[in-house]
């Protein structure tokens, strides 16, 4: 099966700082690949390069068959990006926000309506969708944003710390929604600090530190290889 995303020898330098040092990985359709690593490891920089927000210093990114570095506009049609701690426009209602975002992706009014209907169902915010985003709790905003990410049925969803700062129930809700996303064949590239979340969600894990990927594999493979009981222990052993 062709990968949705192929990243090869990806590099990002900020002057003398080498944030990402030639990493390679791939995401298959319907697969969730999690990038885990400490703060400053290069996770968010990698996600931003794949989301076409940052230009790599070197390497290749192929997204849904498109060279995402040479043709970022084309690549953006295939992806949906949810940045860490992202917000929505506070003066708009949840529904207006979804309608606005649908309008940016849709080619016709009917398609936009279809996107909004899907997002409304995913968000499960009921009547609150008609109130201003400024009045939402963090969990509600995150649900809205995740619904926005899913509404276009992207080929690749890029989720940076999707449950960061959420309470247990909201986080569980979000995780289930992410899992449902892959049933349509979408690939998911996510980063998280939460190892439990990764164990629950990820099909494969890439451990990244100081701009390099040190290990890639399924949770079971990694636990077996490092004789660890959980992903936290794997991470500690790899980092050591």
């Amino acid at each position: 099966m062709d990968s949705i995303l192929t990243v090869a020898r990806l590099k990002k330098d900020y002057g003398q700082l080498h944030a990402v040092r030639g990493i390679s990985f791939a995401v298959q359709p319907g697969e969730i690949l999690a990038l885990i690593g400490p703060n400053g490891a290069g996770k968010s920089t990698t996600l931003k390069m794949v989301a076409t927000l940052l230009t790599p210093t070197g390497g290749e990114i192929t997204l849904a068959g498109t060279d995402a570095i040479c043709h970022p506009d084309l690549a953006r049609r295939a992806l949906a990006y949810l940045p860490e701690e992202a917000g929505a426009y506070k003066n708009l209602t949840g529904l207006q926000y979804l309608q606005f975002m649908a309008g940016l992706y849709a080619d016709s009014v009917n398609q936009a309506v279809e996107y909004v209907e899907r997002a409304t169902s995913v968000a499960s915010l009921g009547a609150r969708l008609r109130t201003k985003v400024g009045t939402y709790s963090k969990g509600m905003t995150r649900k809205l944003l995740l619904a926005r990410t899913m509404m276009t049925r992207p080929q690749l969803a890029i989720l940076d710390e999707p449950t960061s700062g959420l309470d247990v129930l909201n986080a569980l809700d979000i995780r289930q929604t992410i899992r449902a996303l892959t049933k349509d064949g979408a690939g998911v590239l996510l980063s998280s600090h939460n190892m439990l979340e990764i164990e629950f969600l990820a099909d494969r894990v890439a451990i990244i530190d100081q701009g390099k990927i040190h290990e890639t594999g399924t949770t079971a493979e990694l636990k077996k290889k490092y004789h660890a009981n959980n992903l936290e222990e794997v991470f500690a052993k790899v980092a050591a």
Binding site: L53, T55, D73, A86, N91, L92, G103, L104, R148
Partner: protein, 430 residues
Amino acid sequence: MNHFVVLLKKELRELVTWQTLLPLIITVILFAGLGKVIGSEVKREQTAQPIIVLDHDRSAASTQLKQAINQNHFTVVDRDEATVGAIPLQDFPKVKLALVIPAGFGQAVISNHSPTLETYTIQRSFSATGLVGPAMLKGVLEAVNGQLSQTLIADKLPGSDPASLRIPIASQSYVIVGDKTAQIDPNVVATFISSQTTFIPIILFVVILFAAQMVATAIANEKENKTLETLLSTPVSRQSIVAAKMLAAGIVAGISSLIYMLGLRNFQSGLTGGQAIPQTAQPALHQLGLVMTPLMYVVIGLALFLGILGALAIALILGAFAENVKSIQALLTPLTVLLLIPYVFTLILDWSTLPTALHVLIYAIPFSYPFLAAQNLFLHQYHVIAYGMIYQLLFFLAFVWLAARLFSSEQIVGLKLNFDKLNKLRKLRR
């Protein structure tokens, strides 16, 4: 679907909120109301003001003087006190003027001994409208003086022309504007032009800064609410994002400027009672081409529009450096300075007498042209207006290109000027 229209609608929806509309509505209502209140106050000051008169002469001449005062918007309140100081002024709260006619006034007038009238202004406030009464009394006394001198000259020198004796050398004032000349007092022209154009720099300053603040705040809001990254990852061209933000701010600023302009027009017409041009001066002002025509308003509007576009392009770039909305005020300081220079120079100083270096500086600032547009129109310097508009357009295109480049680059994601860190660095250096 047209993505640009979708973006534009969202920008407009974000900009047109009660928070932005309310100050606008309040300002316009306030201006219109203030104009009416001040106008009616001035009118009230001009109609039948009470004046205390201490007539120590009680002669035919003093009676005639009081009648003349009575016929010229005053109501004489006759009192018998020896001095003004003895009058219980607290009993006359509406009286602001007093006149003392000395004993022997009538005799002195007849014997040509120039009697002295004492006028007292009772200062109950220091407002501008409070000065209307004393000015009117002065005018009445001057008119009475003129009439008296005519009568005296006719009595003493029968057969002579009292008017030519009173004013042996007559003069006529002419004003030249460009290639047009008209007989008119230059003070009338200056007062009229000032009344017509004073509000223009104020409008320009407010509108340009308002538009710049809106677009910079829109960018800062995107960054503060962490919506910019999401927006930039959508399949919409960066140029569309930039253009939608600028156009939305331009539309809102344009409509606001029209509303402000109407508000100020109402304010002025309230002040002048709807009579912007003095009747006697009207033909001369028309002859000189000093009356604002609809075409002039269009030209000023166009210069203003180009000024707004330039400010929007700069603000867009400055806004990209904002970490949050709080930092916008500080980031827009360079733009405010660029606006303040032409604002101050055109409102306070005489443009024609400024040194060449200042002329160059002011002409280098693209925002100077809308400020100077009215003056240049009145002075028929159309070439300056045309060059200015071309310069404004080129300036706008250069900065919008820079803005588009900035938004198309990755710099936009991480660009910020952290004032807290700068302040800490400064303190550490000390």
